[in-house]
Amino acid sequence: MSVIKVELQNIEMKFQTVEGETEAIRNVSLSVEAGEFVSIVGPSGCGKSTILNILSGLNKSTAGQVRVNGRMGYMLQKDHLFEWRTILNNCLVGPEVQGQDMKAARESVIHLLKTYGLENFMHHYPNQLSGGMRQRAALIRTLAVNPDVLLLDEAFSALDYQTRLTMVDEVWTILKKENKTAIIVTHDIAEAISMSDRIIVFSHRPAEVKSIYSIELAQAGNPPLENRKDERFRHYFDAIWKELDVHVTG
């Protein structure tokens, strides 16, 4: 029996603005075990980011219960590295905000930068790095506060296709190696299948859990790029594609 890291129960979210009320999430319950990689897919604007915001504590749900066992780390679509800070200082922004012991934090960040190939770029400014390297730096910035659960919101969609495939592989390997749990929001079905143990399909807004797929490929525990070659990959892809109900009218 694994430890439950994250649990959502009957989450409901209504946004109030001057223009009116938006019901973003109607009734979502889900739980994620330690070490599990769970993807959330769903139509655009259905409330995926909102779920992550609720999980991370950025937003408070209007109803329901959030139980989180451990620290959260959030990775956004763009790297949002601060142009005025060097890569090293960018990665240290989390510990800095949280008032951690900066000497220890610095050491562990430098260690991470070394491990993941950014050693020679620590003292560079972000605009001197390629898109992939920047995203890796953003991941290290997230890891610097030593989170147990990583929330990735379209974390790769700003990258070009090739970089994206490699980054997915890299990030997956890093997160597995560091024993993290991950909740991944993506609109790329193939990416979701290749990275996750489970895929949760959301309905149109207001979001509800439409269905859940446990991904069982022929070879368990392979990195994403390998998984794409798996014979069952196609089968999952078609099923989820149908589920998402994407109509192409022409």
């Binding site: 991370s56 950025l58 780390g73 763009k78 949002h80 601060f82 005025w84 922004v93 800095e96 905000v97």
Partner: protein, 268 residues
């Protein structure tokens, strides 16, 4: 970085760009000299009336006698000091108020119409009021310079603060940042280019404010010299003051540009 092995193409390129730069510089110097030479010549040949246009040799003579009498420095320093104080107070005060308005959404919404009106109002119109309130001395002049720059600073700074990428703020919030930390770690650094450009604008505005103020009241300063010179029809004094003013204003602007280069290293 000194490169030991420069390819011939590179050397050619460097030589070409150097030559172009020199050409621009020489032309600039030439225009300046030609301007003064033609001015002097025209005055001597009586093509223009030096009584109302002055002439470079007369300006030089005036500068010398002002220098000998020592009053030149009194006037120059008075004006520079007033400008510096007005500029610093206007910029710092504007920045501070902008931070305050960023902090409190309520305050910023309340103050909005007032700022709009104050911004539209030509501040010079307030000059006589300032003189009545503060007396005809340095205080009124500095207040003039401050007033002319502070409102623009508030408005442009606040706009800058509010357009900082929301996702950058969100990122800091995911680490649990407080509002104060968001201010110090994102809003202010991200607004640095904005702050510098406000500095540049304010340098110019402060000169305007100070000279306007000195026109209205004052017993010393370059603005005073200009008014005095024109009243007694000594155009040499007027022209000399204008030239000093141009040099001083340019020097202050260059100072800010230098600061910009130093502070925005990461932008290159």
């Amino acid at each position: 970085m000194s490169q030991v092995n420069i390819s011939p193409e590179r050397r050619d390129y460097l030589r070409r760009t150097h030559r172009k730069r020199m050409l621009v510089l020489i032309t600039q110097l030439f225009i300046l000299m030609a301007f003064f030479a033609v001015w002097e010549l025209a005055a001597r040949m009586q093509w223009i009336d030096p009584f109302i246009t002055s002439q470079p040799s007369g300006v030089l003579k005036t500068l010398k006698s002002l220098h000998a009498g020592g009053s030149l420095y009194l006037h120059v320093w008075t004006t520079i000091w007033e400008t510096f104080v007005g500029f610093t107070a206007g910029t710092a005060g504007g920045l501070l108020i902008a931070v305050l308005l960023w902090w409190s959404n309520f305050l910023s919404r309340v103050s909005e119409p007032y700022l709009v009106v104050l911004n539209a109002l030509p501040k010079v119109a307030l000059g006589p009021i300032l003189i009545v309130w503060m007396g005809n001395g340095m205080g009124a002049i500095i207040a003039m310079a401050l007033l002319i720059s502070i409102i623009v600073t508030i408005i442009s700074m606040l706009n800058g603060f509010l357009t900082v990428d929301q996702d950058k703020i969100k990122l800091l919030k995911t680490f649990g940042a407080s509002r104060y930390q968001i201010l110090c770690k994102v809003i202010l650094p991200a607004s640095l280019p904005n702050i510098i450009s406000a500095l540049k604008v304010n340098v110019g505005l402060s000169w305007v404010g100070v000279i306007m103020g000195e026109f209205l009241v004052s017993k010393a300063g370059l603005g005073y010299l200009i008014i005095y010179g024109s009243q007694v029809f000594k155009l040499d004094i007027v022209m000399a003051s204008v030239i000093i003013l141009a040099v001083a204003a340019a020097a202050m602007y260059l100072g800010v540009s230098y600061l910009e280069k130093k502070m925005l290293k990461w932008q290159q």
